[in-house]
Amino acid sequence: MIEILKATKIDFMGKRYYALALTAIMSVLGLFTVIQISRGAANLGIDFAGGTAVQIKFNERVPLKDVRQALLSGGISDVELQDLPGENKVLISTKKSEENIGDVSKKMISALSQKYSESSMVVDSSTEIGPKVGKKLRTDALWAVIAAIIGILIYITIRFQFRFSIGATVATFHDVLAVLGIFYLMGKEINLIVVSALLMIAGYSLTDTVVVFDRIRENLRSRLKKSTVEVINESINEVLSRTIIVSLTTFFSAAALFAFGGEVIHDFALAIMLGIIVGTYSSIFVASPIVLLLGKDVAMGKK
């Protein structure tokens, strides 16, 4: 039998104050990002902010400064250019919303076709989102996050007692906030696909927490003589390899997507990978200490 971890005896709960500091930092970072998003200071994708993005595939490698020059001579400034490594693709985007959105991409493409012949470039995709749609997608995304959280909360409340549900909820929030915060620090664009990843993470994080909680609950009932701290520590040690392996297989899939899935999926996969790591951490260091904190003397299940 191959085992990643032999029977461990790590004092997880003893380290809970260090963990608390890290958790607090990540949560504050995430909340800060939420504030930045709401005041429009974060790097929102054009699906939320409105704007135009055109992806051009060239026959050969084209320096960005040449593309910028070609756009400038077509009267287009104020655009962001991004090279997609490995492929001769350039992503041109602007968040400037114009009254008639159909015109921006047309102008971009015609400016480029002045310099590059029709056979040397292909328009891979163009996305134009007017301010009205951007606003609607923002509202929809916000409602989706709220609805998902409420749905998950209701489910946990039905399935677990109060202190467990508080622990799981805080852990879930923490994970979503942490990944959002890390994306903000990395300067990554926050778009519709990233929000879907965040919802996915919320669900996943909960799954991971449930694995730990199930064991704690079970052991709290059976090991009546031991203190809650001991029971929680033992429970986490018992499910440690399981928690890690469960995370590992999904992590493999996400990593394959990250490496080979193409540029659209790249950030989505990155968010999922981060979410899996953070989710595993939070089950042990966020959710469990809260159960301990809330249940020290109540000792439900121990009677």
Partner: protein, 537 residues
């Protein structure tokens, strides 16, 4: 016990067979399949097969404005016909009629019941449309636009287009698989208002206008002549492109604002080739009312120039040589065959009641779609290989069982998606790949539990049973939470995200089945055949 196996094995076999059968139409074998089966199959989303997704807003206010303008013009005509000395003038949303006489009021209340009297002062009567009428016009403008766009798309020949309204005044158009996206967008979004107006060559202002200008100079010209244009006249431009140099120029025209004839009387529009210059032109035919009007207009204006205008662009301005009966006319201009064809399509399908404002345009070229599929398949294969190898190394025989379940899982997922004609998008492919990882998760939960039970000294048989029992609720919980996410994403997500929600949601149910029925059955069979001394896990 034996009977129990039989049912479970039959269930698994049946599900596998059904999945394979329903998945077949999604493969290249589709053509060779019986007809009833061909209607199934996974639909590729716009992001995978290329195409356009457009959202337009119908400018209802403009439709109301156009109606007011038309009413003003027909009021003036009515007064003319009835020999009533009165004037009608459009001012914003109002129509101001003077003088204030009983004959005028009577005519309007009898013949224009949708106009309501707003106020009377200093001999002027102010009429406008009441709120209900405005609402009706706005609503019908959306319906009319939808109908017109449907006609155009039908003529364009797109397989399986989706065209519908959303949130009142928005129209969503999806044209999957379309290659010439630029042309499609132009065809759909063209207002296509055809008007015939008289040039005002008698005015001294006409002589002062420059003949031909660059497009960038247009605003300057409009500003320059703003104060001088005679009442009831306007300046319009005709766009021309030099075939050799490709340079665009505008010809400046001064003409009467009032349209003598519009495209609403059109019955037919066809592309013909001019034999002399070998250039295409569009010939149009009017219905009986239109023909009479056209005859009248040409008879009354011999030797004058009549401009043919489409969406405020002057196509041509021939001199009327004589009265034209029969209701045929032609639109010529410097356009190519394709352009002429599209022009005929938009004229045939009728004009849009109001200009459309583009809210969203997602265009995906066919090559990106292919790249995305390739990338998705590659990621899927690598992801699956990593998971499969890991499971065999780590759990040996049990790992192989989990891998077998994984294969069933993917097969079922593809079968279900195909049977329901589900749309597969790029995020949807990501959903399948994540499902691969998560499918194995359930097995890992059970295997780890079995290992624990074995360590406690239980027999393999007992370990398997209690492993399943104890892991059940954990598996159940994790699937429910994922399902909640999927439902929410489906509810709030747009196209590609919906695709992700679908694969994720379907994956949850299949996962539960393969984990709780699939692998369990295999374990049961193995452990029942002979007394197991050891469990390879």
């Amino acid at each position: 016990m034996k009977k129990n196996f039989f049912w479970r094995l039959s269930l698994i076999t049946a599900a596998t067979l059904l999945s394979v059968i329903f998945y077949l139409p999604s493969t290249t074998l589709k053509g060779a399949l019986p007809e009833w089966l061909q209607k199934y199959g996974i639909v590729l989303g716009l992001d995978l097969q290329g195409g356009v997704h457009l959202v337009y807003e119908v400018d209802g206010d403009k439709a109301v404005d156009v109606t007011v303008e038309r009413l003003t013009s027909s009021l003036a005509n009515t007064f003319n016909e009835k020999k009533i000395e009165a004037r009608a003038e459009k001012k914003g949303p109002d129509i101001i009629v003077s003088p204030d006489t009983d004959a005028v009021k009577k005519t309007i209340s009898e013949q224009f019941p949708n106009l309501s009297l707003e106020s009377v002062s200093e001999g002027k009567i102010v009429y406008n449309l009441d709120a209900q009428e405005i609402k009706r016009i706005k609503e019908s403008s959306v319906e009319q636009a939808l109908e017109t766009i449907r006609n155009r798309v039908d003529e364009f020949g797109v397989t399986e287009p989706t065209i519908h309204t959303q949130s009142g005044n928005e129209i969503v158009i999806q044209l999957p698989g379309i290659k010439d996206t630029k042309r499609a967008i132009e065809l759909v979004g063209k207002t296509a208002i055809l008007e015939f107006k008289l040039l005002d060559d008698e005015s001294p202002v006409a002589a002062q206008l420059p003949g031909s200008i660059l497009p960038s100079e247009a605003p300057k010209i409009l500003e320059q002549f703003a104060g001088q244009i005679p009442e009831g006249d306007e300046i319009l431009f005709g766009r021309e492109r030099n075939k050799e140099t490709g340079v665009e120029t505008l010809t400046v025209y001064l003409m009467k604002k009032h349209a003598l004839l519009t495209g609403e009387f059109l019955t037919e529009a066809r592309v013909n080739i001019d034999q002399r210059y070998n250039e295409p032109y569009v010939s149009i035919s009017f219905d009986s009312v239109g023909s009479r009007l056209f005859e009248q207009v040409t008879a009354n204006n011999v030797k004058k120039r009549l401009a043919i205008i489409l969406d405020n662009n002057v196509y041509s301005s021939p001199v009327i040589q004589e009265k034209i009966a029969g209701g045929n006319a032609q639109i010529s201009g410097s356009f190519g065959m394709q352009e002429a064809k599209d022009l005929a399509i938009v004229l045939r399908s009728g004009s849009l009641p109001a200009p459309l404002k583009m809210l969203q345009n997602l265009t995906v070229g066919p090559s990106l779609g292919r790249d995305s599929i390739n990338a998705g398949v590659k990621a899927g294969l690598v992801g699956a290989a990593l998971v499969v190898v890991f499971m065999v190394i780590y759990y040996r025989m049990a790992g192989m069982i989990a891998d077998f379940a994984l294969v069933l899982n993917i097969l079922y997922l593809l079968g279900v998606l195909s049977a329901f004609n589900a749309t597969l998008t790029l995020p949807g492919i990501a959903g399948i790949i994540l499902a691969i990882g998560m499918a194995v998760d359930s097995n890992v939960l059970m295997f780890e539990r079995m290992r624990e039970e074995l360590r406690l000294g239980k027999t393999p048989r007992a370990a398997i049973d209690s492993g399943y029992d104890k892991a059940f609720w954990t598996i159940f919980d994790s699937h429910v939470t994922t399902l909640i996410t999927a439902v929410v994403l489906f509810q709030f997500g747009t196209g590609p995200i919906k695709g992700f929600a679908v694969t994720l949601g379907v994956g949850v149910f299949i996962n539960l089945f393969t984990a709780l029925v699939g692998t369990k059955t295999i374990f049961d069979i193995i452990s029942s055949r002979r007394e197991m001394k050891e469990l390879s896990i």
